[in-house]
Structure formats: structure tokens, C-alpha cells
Amino acid sequence: MQQIIKAVDVYKSYHKEPVLKGLNLTVNKGQIVGLLGPNGAGKTTTVRLLNGVIGPDKGQLEVFGLTPEKSGDKIRSLCGVLTESAGLYPHLSGEQNLAFFGELYGVTKKEVRYDLLKDFGLLEHKDKKVGSYSTGMKKRLGIAKALLPSPELLFLDEPTTGLDPEGARDLLSYIEKLNKEKGVTILICTHILKQVEELCHRFLFLDSGRIIEEGTLEEIEAKYLKEFLVRVETDVSVSNISSSFQLITHTPGKLTFKLSNKSDIPILLRHLLEKGSVYSSEILGRDLETMYFKIREAGR
């Protein structure tokens, strides 16, 4: 697969405060990659470095095979960026903001602006000043702005902060559609893990200026999920269950077991079915958030 972003051993500090300490990462073409980490981990700095608006102290960066420091304008013309503060002009209307940034990106067609305003539900607010927009509307306009140049690579820094659950869901499904239909490569920086769990193809865990883990959810799960907590909805009574299965908790109708292997799950279920009925079963603690804490714990 073609690598669109590559960072090798990148260091960066501000005012002598180190932010990135040996960052290594790659992003392949056509992927949605989540850059996850706590505040201050260096997510925003990474985006700025990749766009060439700041330079690294040490290390190599490549975007589309170009060096951001030397070919910044070329890279920036191929990228869309949503910064954390959307960076819009409050005294201009929604459409005027898009028109202004369109001029900067060389996208002057009115239809492009109108299509984006329509896509983000802002067409009827296009003549209102952005200063009077709600946080969610500003965010949506910020994303519309990022999409103006029909970017091949999209950077989204905390795209869902300030959006209500409905707005966040709409945005995420739009991002997914963009990736599927147009093959746009997307790097999402966020700490709201739940929202991107199903969206991203790969995850990069950034902590204290370094990537401490990366992979697909399955890969990370295989590495960090050492035991399986399985909750089963069943009518089998506790006394009927073989003592070879370690029962952790039980409430009427719901039993939780601890298994050391994924392959023990069907054995357990078969055993329960012999004794009675099973209505549902699920593995607990395999979500991104749990992984995130396990990874950070392991990193310490």
C-alpha cells in the first residue's frame, strides 16, 4: 500500500518544552487513521508539522513523498485541515468565509460552496454572520472549509467537540462516506474514543510525544486482551454449572465468566446449552477505551 504520511524519529519542542520525542508513524493511502492520546500528547503538533506550518527540530517528515518544510504550499494545496478552533471570520457570513478560503485554495466555483453548505445543513444560514453561529454550526462550516479544495488527505483535529450527539453522528458518517466514495485518506485526532472506534481502520496511540502502540482494533485486542470476560444471558442456575468455568459475578439471568482463551467461549456456551437456554453472550472490555487504558498502563 502506498504510504501518504511518513514520520521518522521526529523531535519538536516549543520554548524548550519537548512535545514530540521520537515520533514514528505511517499512514497508508485510503485509510481512516485515528491518532489517539490525551491532551498535550502532541496530536495538534503532529498535524502542524505534517502541513509544514512549523518545522521539526530533528527527524524526517514526508507527505505525498514531499518534505513539508520545503514543499509546504504544494502539500497544503492537497490537504484539508480542520483546526481545533475552526478559524473562521466572525464578521463574514458563512458563504463569504467559504468564498474567501476558496480564493486562497483556488476554488472559486459557486457550486462547490453551495454543495458543501448543503451537505452540512448550512445552506439556509449561508448569509448569517459566522459570529452568530452556534458552536456546532461553526464546526460544520470549518469542515466544509477543510473540504473546499477536494483534498486527497484530510486532517481533522478534534472534529466532534462542540457537536451534539446527532451532529457528531452525521459528521462521522459523512467522513466515512467521503473515504469510501472518494478514497480520501483521513487522519483524525481525538480523545473521544467511542466515536471513532468503528470508523477508523487503524489506530495510533500517542503518549508523551511518541507512538506507543498502533494497529487495527483486532491486532491490538490480540496483543492486550489476555483474558476474556464473557457475560451470558441464560436461565441456567449457578449450581448446575461445572466448576471448571470461573464464574466472576452473577445476577438473576446474567452470568459473567473469566476465560483465558477465546476458544474457551464456544465450550462454555455448549456446556450452558446442555443445561438450559442461552439468550445472548458478549465479550466485555474489548472496546477501544479499555484498550487505550491497557496500552497506557503497559507503557508506564
Binding site: 509544514g52 497544503r76 464578521h91 463574514l92 478560503f101 480564493e103
Partner: protein, 278 residues
């Protein structure tokens, strides 16, 4: 150079002038005071007072006497019979010239301070620097907005000033006494030169300070030399004639060129970003 981006940035910055009372108000009020209220008060007060009876006229009379006989001003003044006429002529065509210069300088400073420091304050500078526009075009677009506004204000002020003087002064002179050749040099040479100087000064200040207010306060330093000019002239140290104005404008351009040469370092995206955003 990205002409399309320069135009867009200049247009956007000009449009932000009218939406900000802090900027818009002084741009209306200052020219009105300097170009209408001051000259009108002077002319009306002089028209209805007998200056031969007034005291404390010696310093000004001394200036009039000390003028070299072959100078344009001395010849012009000799053509008037009344002291009132001489004084109005001297004040409006000469003493007020430095004050008039304050109008474009104020305009250029306000717009430049707002466009650089204000951009940082509103947190829009970041998204601007993320755009594929070279840093020189970005600066040039912003400077162009301030320059166009300064020139616009100067031309508007010039017209207002001329109308006020010639209409109210007509009963006294029976002809138009404004503009003299020194004002044309002022308008086409000194005003652009000093506007550029004020813009560069504000750009330099904006890169160092946190917000618009602070940047704006610093621009007082550009105004001070003008005030000095005004006072020295009234005290009779020199007279702002055409030759002096050509030199003054040239001096302004020379300092601007030096400043620009020193400021080349600001035209660096990474440095600007780190100094402004963090």
C-alpha cells in the same frame, strides 16, 4: 506572488473595517475634526475678530517677518493686505499640513494593527497559515488593505478640507486659496510614504504583541514625530514647503526600505506560526 490570494485578503481585511466600531469610529471622527471642525473654527473665529487688537501675536508675526523674501510663501503672503488673511493662509496651508498627515497614518495603523494582531486574537491566523499561500502574498494582501484605506482616507480628507476652506474662506479672499503646490506633494508623495512606514511599523509591532489593543497603543510612536514636526513648524524652526516635503517623503521611504530589509525574517511561516500561535 499569488495575485488572487492578495486580492482576497485585501478585500476581506477592508470589509472587516466597517464591522469593527473600534476601527470604524476613529476613521470617521478624526478626519471630520481635522478637516472640517478645525479649519472651520479657525476661519470663522478669524473672520469675526479683529486680530490687530489681539495680543500674543508676536511669535507668529516674527515667523512672517523672518521668511526669505524670494520664497513662495513670502510672495503669497505679501499679496494679502489683511493680517487675518495672512494668518488663515499660513495656518491652513502650512501649519495644518502635519496634522493632515496624521489621518492616513492613523488609518493605516488601525487597519494594519487590526489585520495582524486582530487575526491572532480571533484565532484565524492559524487557518490562514494552513492555506497554500506563500507568506509574502499573505503579508502583501494585508499591507495592501491598510495602504488603500490610508490613501482613501487622505483623498477624502483632502477634499473635505479643501471644500471647508474654500467655501468658508471665500468671503475673506474672494478666491480659492487651497490647495497650494505643497499640498499636492503632500498627498501624492508624503502620504503614501508615511502610510507605508506606519504599516511596516505596525506589522513589526503586531508580530511581537498579543492583541489589537496593545498593537494599537504602540502605534503612538509613529504619531510622535509628526507632532514634533507640527510643533517645530509653529515655533518657526522650518516651513513645510514643497522642497521640504519631497525630502520628508523620501526620508520616509528610505526608513521603510531599511525596516523592510530588517523585517525579512518575519516572512517565514514557521517562525511566524511559532511566535504567534503558541
Amino acid at each position: 506572488m499569488n495575485i488572487r490570494a492578495i486580492k482576497a485578503i485585501a478585500k476581506k481585511d477592508l470589509s472587516s473595517v466597517t464591522s469593527n466600531v473600534q476601527i470604524f469610529l476613529p476613521m470617521i471622527i478624526v478626519p471630520l475634526i481635522f478637516c472640517v471642525i478645525f479649519p472651520a473654527t479657525l476661519i470663522l473665529a478669524t473672520r469675526f475678530t479683529d486680530l490687530n487688537q489681539a495680543t500674543n501675536m508676536e511669535p507668529i508675526l516674527k515667523i512672517l517677518e523672518s521668511l526669505p523674501e524670494e520664497s513662495t510663501l513670502a510672495k503669497d503672503l505679501a499679496s494679502f493686505t489683511e493680517l487675518n488673511q495672512k494668518l488663515i493662509y499660513l495656518f491652513l496651508n502650512y501649519f495644518f499640513a502635519p496634522m493632515f498627515l496624521l489621518i492616513p497614518i492613523m488609518g493605516a495603523s488601525l487597519v494594519a494593527a487590526n489585520s495582524f494582531a486582530g487575526e491572532k486574537e480571533r484565532r484565524t491566523l492559524e487557518s490562514l497559515l494552513f492555506a497554500p499561500v506563500d507568506i509574502f502574498s499573505l503579508f502583501f494582501g494585508k499591507a495592501l488593505a491598510a495602504f488603500l484605506l490610508a490613501i482613501g482616507l487622505a483623498i477624502g480628507g483632502f477634499i473635505l478640507y479643501g471644500l471647508t476652506i474654500n467655501i468658508l474662506g471665500y468671503p475673506l479672499f474672494n478666491r480659492a486659496i487651497f490647495p497650494q503646490s505643497n499640498w499636492l506633494v503632500l498627498l501624492i508623495w508624503v502620504v503614501p510614504s508615511f502610510s507605508i512606514l506606519a504599516i511596516l511599523f505596525n506589522v513589526a509591532v503586531s508580530a511581537k504583541v498579543k492583541g489589537f489593543q496593545e498593537a494599537n497603543q504602540m502605534s503612538v510612536f509613529v504619531v510622535l514625530p509628526i507632532v514634533f514636526l507640527l510643533i517645530s513648524q509653529i515655533l518657526g524652526a522650518f516651513i513645510i514647503d514643497t522642497k521640504f516635503l519631497w525630502l520628508l517623503g523620501g526620508g520616509g521611504l528610505f526608513i521603510s526600505a531599511l525596516a523592510l530589509w530588517r523585517m525579512v525574517g518575519y516572512f517565514d511561516r514557521n517562525r511566524l506560526f511559532e511566535s504567534q500561535i503558541f
